[in-house]
């Protein structure tokens, strides 16, 4: 990061002395938000910022309802009933009565605790709503329910410009980040990589193209196979589709079966069902690959792309969700819009290894400067400071 960059972080953090930042989300474990907060809160502490973390309480019924809300905000077809809204309101009121809101800045993550804002009139303080999901094309009824809460906040934060909405409050763009020291992202010794390849029976005789994603239609694994088969007519290569089945996604088994059938026992296509928590194995598969593909039809931010870029691998990805923030076409990777485009990009990179290496190195530098947790930390510090300074240029 550089000594001077760390000095600047400390200088900014010092301006928050005496303030308590209270993060509130729905769970301490599981999911991207908990993962981010588990790293971010201690790091803020190391910079001298008093950051704390609390969760709301809810029963199974509440979390079933919020799951439906989550899907509906993503634009998926969900039938939300008046009873669902009632369950949400009731649990929110219970949390409002029970949870202690002690922070000077209340940082509320995602829709589950969004209703806590109703205490703002009574408590004052500064409130920020951090939206980690894509609400650009929500179920309108769902958005109309959430929006009255959101507009009461002092500011909202989104992960990509396309995820935002027109709101009468300040909106900031803070992208997610990766932890370069985690099992998913750290450098692995060659022995570990070889051991994982050996475990899954993947030879190293040809360039390896890999997509790591859940077996979900929206990740288009069949489309990846088709693009691979087109490219393979010109250049020898091998395809790895690695992913897990989600316990809360009944479609994943069906998708996996279709993918296996489409692969038709092709010895150069490897379909791997990776158990949850296998970060080292995912890391090893990506590290062993020549090219990483992320041919999603819809995507949230797609932080897996940054994980691949961090390994300096050339990435071919769809221009959806937050992916274009990470992959700048022909600079830090290649963006594609369909199967023929993906196949063409594969051929281009396989036949031009120098160009592929250049893209991979650029991708790593792009992640170093824009998607590491230290940048995320800096953005949060600036966000907290900007609440007290409405101007565009703040002199410290």
């Amino acid at each position: 990061m550089g000594k001077s960059a760390i000095e600047e972080l400390k200088l900014v953090a010092a301006k928050l002395a005496g303030k308590v930042i209270q993060n509130i989300n729905s769970t301490f474990t599981g999911g991207g938000v908990a993962e981010i907060l588990s790293r971010m809160v201690p790091l803020l502490g190391q910079l001298g910022v008093d950051a704390r973390w609390n969760v709301i309480r809810g029963d199974d019924a509440f979390f079933q309802v919020t799951k439906k809300f989550h899907n509906a905000l993503h634009g998926r077809d969900e039938r939300i009933t008046p009873k669902d809204f009632a369950v949400f309101q009731e649990t929110t009121q219970k949390n409002i009565r029970e949870i202690e809101l002690y922070g000077d800045i209340l940082f509320i993550h995602d829709p589950q605790p969004v209703g806590l804002i109703t205490r703002k009139k009574e408590l004052g303080k500064k409130w920020i709503w951090r939206c980690h999901i894509d609400v650009s094309h929500p179920n309108e009824e769902m958005w109309n329910f959430v929006q009255p809460f959101v507009v009461q906040y002092d500011a909202a934060v989104f992960s990509a410009p396309s995820f935002s909405r027109e709101l009468p409050i300040r909106q900031f763009l803070i992208s997610p980040s990766i932890d370069p020291l985690s099992d998913k992202n750290r450098d692995l010794p060659q022995e570990t990589i070889d051991s994982v390849l050996g475990k899954y029976g993947i030879p190293k005789d040809k360039p390896i193209i890999t997509q790591v994603s859940r077996f979900d239609y929206l990740k288009d694994p069949v489309g990846v196979i088709e693009a691979f088969e087109i490219a393979k007519k010109s250049v020898e290569c091998r395809l790895v589709l690695a992913g897990g089945a989600a316990a809360d996604d009944p479609e994943s088994d069906k998708v996996l079966a279709e993918v296996r059938e489409r692969a038709s026992n092709n010895p150069d296509i490897h379909i791997l069902l990776i158990p949850p928590g296998s970060d080292i194995e995912i890391n090893a598969l990506q590290s062993a690959s020549t090219i990483i593909v992320q041919k999603s039809l819809r995507e949230g931010f797609g932080l897996t792309v940054s994980e691949a870029l961090w390994k300096a691998k050339p990435v071919i990805a769809s221009a959806v969700g937050g992916i274009p923030l990470q992959v700048k076409n022909k600079l830090t990777g290649l963006l594609s819009h369909g199967i023929p485009g993906t196949a063409y990009a594969l051929r281009q990179l396989l036949t031009n290894p120098e160009y592929a290496r250049w893209l991979g190195n650029n991708g790593r530098e792009h992640v170093r400067h824009n998607f590491l947790i230290t940048r995320h930390l800096k953005d949060y510090l600036l966000l907290f400071l900007s609440l007290e300074h409405p101007e565009d240029i703040i002199h410290l």
Binding site: E7, V12, F158, I174, N370, L382, D392
Partner: protein, 457 residues
């Protein structure tokens, strides 16, 4: 008595003659030796010459007098025991006078050299006393040995004392000797700008017998033991350059991106929103690419050019927008006017029907900039260029880009300081002529350093 003298005149005459001859030789030798010594010492231009001459000239004759007496006694008819005793006495006198000469000589030389390494008076006095004690002890041991007294126990005692003293002063001694060496060689002097291979750098403000102090770029004082200066590689940049009327205080800048909520899906919407958007929006979309990709390319691809080419597929307009030279505009208002003008001209040709696919609209954003002071304050070109090597890219960006255009100063901060405070108008103008948009940020840093180093030389 006279009868005795007549009978033993030879026994008296020979010793007297021997004494006189010895004294004569001594006189003659002194004359020859000292004139030769004076000649060679004058050539060497050693400042201790007069001390050496005045301290040893008279005792030299005294030594020959003693030698003469000793020879006279040895050639006389005196009994052997008397000869032995007088010989020992004369030897003792010789040792005492030699010790006295060494004491005076070392005292005078210490008083000549120690003040040059800023040794406190107390330390000089202690050093002189230590030397005196050493010489006296050695002299005493030699005299005791002359008289046959066993000296081994005493020597052992002295050895133990010396070892104890060496252990006690083991850290100070290397620094003292290093200080002498630095002073003698003048390799580093007060006022020089030095940089050690271990990273410490700054102007030398003081050099004493134990350490050297430097004023670092952040105004702190670094104390370096003298021995370290000899152990590590040191770059000495030499004497200070001219000082600025006002020092340059480096600032840095970091930013947060704010969404305006406005988006455009075609050219008409793009230009309509661009016309009314705050200037901070224009600044963001013409500069953030460089910050995000400063390691990658020096080309200032503004967001409008990229979006028009990629999302609308209009490469002709994309090229026109990319060709707008941001550097040639003194302020954001005129830059916006030009961008709007290029798009309106294109729209007038009738090429305005394309629309971006859903999800690929142009999202208008702006920067919230936080400007913070750094600890680096520079007073001359040397400090300035050394600081340039280490400041963050955010600092470089702030002084070269943000201050010029966004804060409306018209000129980058470096050029302003060089011209107004340091009286370096040519250097200031050269830097002002740099088009920073054609460099990557690290490339810009290197180019600036190179230019300033050339000027310093």
């Amino acid at each position: 008595m006279i009868q005795w003298l007549i009978e033993n005149w030879l026994e008296i005459a020979i010793p007297v003659l021997a004494f006189l001859v010895t004294c004569g030789i001594g006189l003659w030798l002194r004359r020859i030796m000292y004139s030769t010594l004076l000649f060679w010492l004058a050539k060497a231009k050693w400042e201790g010459t007069s001390i050496l001459i005045t301290t040893t000239r008279r005792p030299f004759l005294l030594w020959f007098v003693l030698l003469g007496i000793d020879i006279a006694i040895q050639v006389s008819a005196l009994p052997p025991e008397t000869k032995g005793t007088t010989g020992r006495a004369i030897g003792s006198l010789f040792v005492m006078s030699l010790a006295w000469v060494f004491i005076v000589l070392s005292e005078r030389l210490l008083r000549l050299y120690l003040p040059r390494v800023k040794t406190p008076e107390r330390t000089i006095a202690i050093s002189i006393n230590i030397v005196r004690i050493v010489i006296i002890v050695i002299g005493a041991l030699v005299i005791l040995d002359i008289w046959g007294v066993p000296t081994t126990p005493l020597l052992l005692l002295i050895l133990v004392a010396v070892v104890a003293a060496a252990l006690a002063f083991r850290t100070a001694a290397p620094n003292l000797f290093a200080g002498f060496q630095l002073s003698a060689t003048q390799q580093i002097r007060v006022g020089d700008y030095i940089k050690l291979e271990t990273g410490e750098e700054g102007y030398v403000t003081e050099m004493n017998w134990n350490n050297t102090r430097i004023r670092a770029l952040d105004e702190s004082t670094i104390i370096i033991p003298n021995s370290r200066l000899l152990q590590h590689t040191v770059i000495n940049y030499g004497r200070p350059l001219k000082k600025a009327k006002e020092p340059f205080h480096f600032h840095s800048r970091t930013h947060l991106t704010e969404l305006t909520g406005l988006r455009a899906k075609n050219l008409r919407e793009l230009v309509d929103i661009l016309n009314k958007a705050p200037e901070t929006v224009v600044y963001f979309h013409t500069h953030h690419f460089m910050e995000e990709h400063h390691y990658l390319t020096p080309e200032p691809a503004n967001d409008f050019a990229v979006w028009v080419a990629d999302a609308l597929g209009d490469e002709v307009l994309g090229e026109k927008l990319a060709s707008v030279d941001t550097f040639s505009f003194p302020d954001l208002a005129s830059l916006r006017e030009r961008l709007v003008g290029v798009i309106e001209e294109h729209l007038a040709l009738g090429s305005n029907s394309r629309e971006a696919m859903p999800g690929q609209e142009f999202y208008f954003m702006k920067s919230v900039s936080l400007i913070l002071p750094t600890p680096y304050i520079t007073h001359d070109l040397r400090e300035f260029v050394e600081t340039l090597r280490k400041v963050s890219l955010g600092s470089l960006y702030f002084h070269m880009f943000e201050s010029r255009l966004r804060l409306g100063r018209g000129l980058n901060d470096f050029s302003v300081w060089l011209q107004d405070s340091l009286n370096e108008p040519e250097l200031g103008q050269e830097i002002a002529r740099f088009d920073p948009y054609t460099y990557s940020l690290e490339g810009l840093r290197s180019a600036l350093i190179q230019l300033i180093e050339k000027r310093i030389k």
